[in-house]
């Protein structure tokens, strides 16, 4: 890696993911943001959409067509599912590496995608090259990748809560229940009844019961870790907070277990993963807010012979934008923590 900065484009400026990418990349010492695109807001300063950037990032938004005209090192796609795939197809040979934050290349095959996303896939060839961008599991595959599928927010927290046990093939089949709770930013920036303050504030509810599409992403990754298939029960809920995912995962294990052994398994698995913090008490989502950390806390309940594993992340960061930056760091030989060392903001 020479001294020159990486030239990056952020495609899709209007959402929370785009704005968090812009925030992290603005402060990243090895990056230069060459452009941010938005079709509907072309010409407006980026800070007009996101006033917190006033006087910091006032560059005018441009059309995605400008991407082809510039020599870039990385393209971040902060686009909705179903839109991203076309841009991946378009820019796959542009010389830039692509980090796609949508769900378009997270699953194993076109067939699985089309079943769970209920939508035709326009670039199925991408599945062969796409690498699932969860550095705690796949850093060696991510490094040489040209297309990284940045994991979903729920899957990131869910997979990291149980990965050490799956990797050791200790989980009993069909025993996994993942009860997940997310802050409202997970629902996106679009104004709707779902995101109306009065429907969220002082409220709490489940949604996507028995059918949320993150289920299959979790199943494929956890199953893969154990060398097979697995089924998980996944139920997301909407928290009246801006940021944060807390996962409470339940599982039965095969063989003998106690708290000491359980902690040891987690410590081993995460010993070289600087962003997973093995906690000795239940983490709250505010303990990781504004940071790239995933806090994990596994408990053994001898009364019920079950593991309860808690994990907490900032859904916009470890669950999206900072994970994408971590992937970029790996893909370009930078330090893991470059630009990602923020201490959580609390309170």
């Amino acid at each position: 890696m020479n001294k020159e900065k990486l030239k990056v484009a952020i495609v899709g400026a209007s959402g929370f993911t785009g704005s968090e990418l812009a925030r992290l990349l603005s402060d990243h010492p090895k990056v230069e943001i060459k452009m941010i695109t938005s079709e509907s807001h072309q010409g407006k300063p980026f800070s007009e959409l996101h006033p917190q950037f006033f006087d910091r990032l006032d560059i005018p938004l441009v059309s995605a067509e400008e991407v082809s005209k510039e020599e870039l090192d990385v393209i971040f796609l902060a686009l909705p599912h179903g839109v991203s795939m076309d841009f991946v197809a378009k820019w796959k040979d542009s010389g830039a590496k692509i980090i796609d934050l949508s769900g378009d290349f997270r699953l194993s095959t076109k067939e699985v995608y089309e079943e769970w996303y209920n939508k035709k896939h326009s670039y199925p060839e991408g599945f062969a090259t796409a690498v699932y961008g969860l550095p705690e599991l796949f850093s060696e595959k991510i490094k040489p990748a040209t297309l990284v599928a940045n994991p979903g927010c729920y899957p990131t927290a869910s997979i990291l809560s149980l990965a050490p046990l799956f990797a050791k093939q200790l989980i009993k089949e069909n025993s996994v229940i993942i009860d997940a709770k997310s802050g409202l930013t997970g629902a996106g920036i679009k104004a709707s009844a779902t995101t109306h303050f009065s429907n969220v504030n002082e409220n709490f509810k489940a949604y996507g019961i028995a059918g949320h599409r993150h289920t299959i992403e979790i199943e494929e990754q956890l199953g893969g870790l154990a060398g097979g298939q697995t089924a998980v029960q996944f139920t997301p809920h909407l928290l009246p907070v801006d940021r944060g995912i807390l996962v409470t995962a339940y599982a039965q294990v095969s063989g003998e277990m106690d708290q000491e052994r359980l902690t040891e398994i987690y410590r081993d698995f995460y010993k070289d993963k600087p962003f997973v913090r093995l906690r000795n008490q239940a983490p709250g989502i505010k303990d990781v807010r504004g940071s790239h950390y995933c806090d994990v806390f596994p408990v053994w309940d001898k009364r019920t012979n079950r593991v309860i594993a808690i994990s907490a992340i900032d859904n916009l960061l470890k669950g999206a934008a900072s994970q994408a930056v971590h992937n970029m760091n790996l893909m370009f030989g930078l330090e893991d923590a470059e630009g990602l060392a923020q201490i959580p903001l609390k309170p």
Copy 2:
């Protein structure tokens, strides 16, 4: 029941439960509040502790010793666990019926109590006379009772989420996981790090993992419904809202099941229970806030062969104060809904 109003005392004025009892009983057409007691605030107007009552309930607080001097129909004990038992012993022959909102008489025996509450019980004789005051299950026993143990907030929501299946003995042993989330008022009015705004707001965390004392209360009641014992995995979490409990319960069932049959089982079980609303979509806690309702929504997941049952209550009402009033109504031959017909306050 003649035209005269029931004379009631509320023992314990300072907490949320005492204040909600006062609010409901003030507006109850068949009740006269004769006194509200507080040892530490004697002489102060009730509204000084709870300013929302200014100009509405300004009566001076008195010592609990005044209770013995008055002829009362009902005594509500809104006291901490471990304190209530002594007053029950003291007033058991006073002629007044006692509704105890603490946990002191909710369990089956002194032994179970002492194991889970880690505290000596001073009036074990009470267990024989105490009736568990969950009207949806025990209205016939509640009517003649002289001592009612008002259920815990989490147990109320948890039991009602799965009672129809336990009553039909359809639940597979050791398959039940209850992931519960409560508003902060469940933690009480005492100022502490736990209740400090900055630790709650924008935060969310689990607590009491694998050992919360409401576990045994749920197990005894659900087990009893099925005519035996049962073990449940119960994990409470703290929501950054004032009021509300949402329970997400998971269970495997024996025998054939589908959504239609599941709904039918719930509809049958709750058909004469005016305060359980069988919903056709996932309820939020705000749908029941300020009311006596318990909203229930059972889902069959054929992919995993599991029931996911959601229930929502206002923890201070159906989980405490209005349930106590409901019990009073039953004990004195009043209509179930007398004084309890509030439509939820939303938003």
Copy 3:
């Protein structure tokens, strides 16, 4: 007043005001809701729009055209500004009394309306018959009225904070500053960037600086009390809460003043007004939430020779729906507090 119930229609079901009217009128002992209208949701049960009413108010929504076909005592118009006026014109001779919750008839003349609302008025004749429905000031005019213009939420809190001083002509010209803060429901049920959770939660901002249309409503009423014109500086802000308005009003007074005299002036003015509570400490908006109360607290600052008067209301109730019900009670010879005696819901 005979035993028969008042037959009422609520025109406009989808907003918060309509839903609060439905809640209050459902429980009002002298009222029968004959219909609730919605053009866009005709045929749907009311509870489908507002799930808290599930099992309580499931009547199908009808077109506003049904209003003419029924003999009604009262029509509540819960419609946007600019829409209401046409329905007032249409139903003015229907025999029903009209309570309009929009801003269409709150001001003195067509000219003033058109200047501040920037919109042509289609029924200017209405200004002559409309009575400004603030019972604390105009109960005698409201009783015989056939058209009542229900006050705005900010004006209700603002006027009541300073009315005693204006009525005594003690306010110095151009000295009044009203710094007002409202919960988000004041912005309505429509999904937009303004009402998106992530723009409201943990945020706070001013809006409508130096030009909000409630300014003129406040000026006309306070000026009228003093027998002349007045100018007030009015600045609204958006609070990250559902309900409540807090007004902090500042004014200089003519003549001698001290705290005792100030309190006395307020006590005199509000002595027969059951819903204004003169507090002896600063009220919070939660002290009145869910109730019809307006809490008022005037302070004399001798250091600066200024009055600081605080008032708190529930914007959806005293600021809208319960004020409308209060007006109905007056118009039909009912008790002021009929159906309006709710104790505030706190916490």
Copy 4:
């Protein structure tokens, strides 16, 4: 300035200010945290008090007595009012520069302090050497200072809202009203009824009406800017959010004014102040959260002949910790923005 890092101590670890100082200084490229003190938590890791620092700042807390034993460049006092003064006296000749975040040296004299803080001052000599640490006004005095009194949170936002007009002597006497609103962290980390979640959440109220001690701090600074004395009406309110202060300031001006001239005056005054952002729309507190910015927005209301000036800061940062770091940067010849370049965290 050579390459060596500044050696700093943070005295007072338990509060929000101490924890934010630790966060900023941990990431500051020119600083080494030598110790953090706490009398009541000696020996515990800092991260035990503030779990967000887990794995990042786990150094054991030491007694304040350790401060004297180490050669330090800067001592930050994050202590309560009335406690700080003794440590200033003790360490004034230690060779370290002192930045005091309490109110003990913010005012002009012992007499003024004792009147407004209602407390005897033990080190009145300090007033002569202390410099008021508001860099936008006093950077030249701060640079050589050995004792800096870091401004209060409310005064920072209040002074910056009106400083340009006071500096030009354009403000009419006794016309200034500052209506200020602060997030709950301003009330500190101590558990009390005031900080209990249920008293803050969904609530809003004024406090300290007509007597808050920040009044005199604002008056001294604004008066000083205009070369004389001034009186301001200052009313603080408590917002149900963690962080942020929004000030809405009202004033009458002498001479001709219009929006263009007003904007120009502000632009001139703040043209070389990198952390004051002159906004063209009303800022919300979330636009500056997590950052060192003060956003300012002045409006001219020609109808009332009044200026309304809005300012927004993060009370824990520009209102406390980052302002202290800025002062340190100035005192040691570092760049203004060293360690302070965080883009606001939104949402």
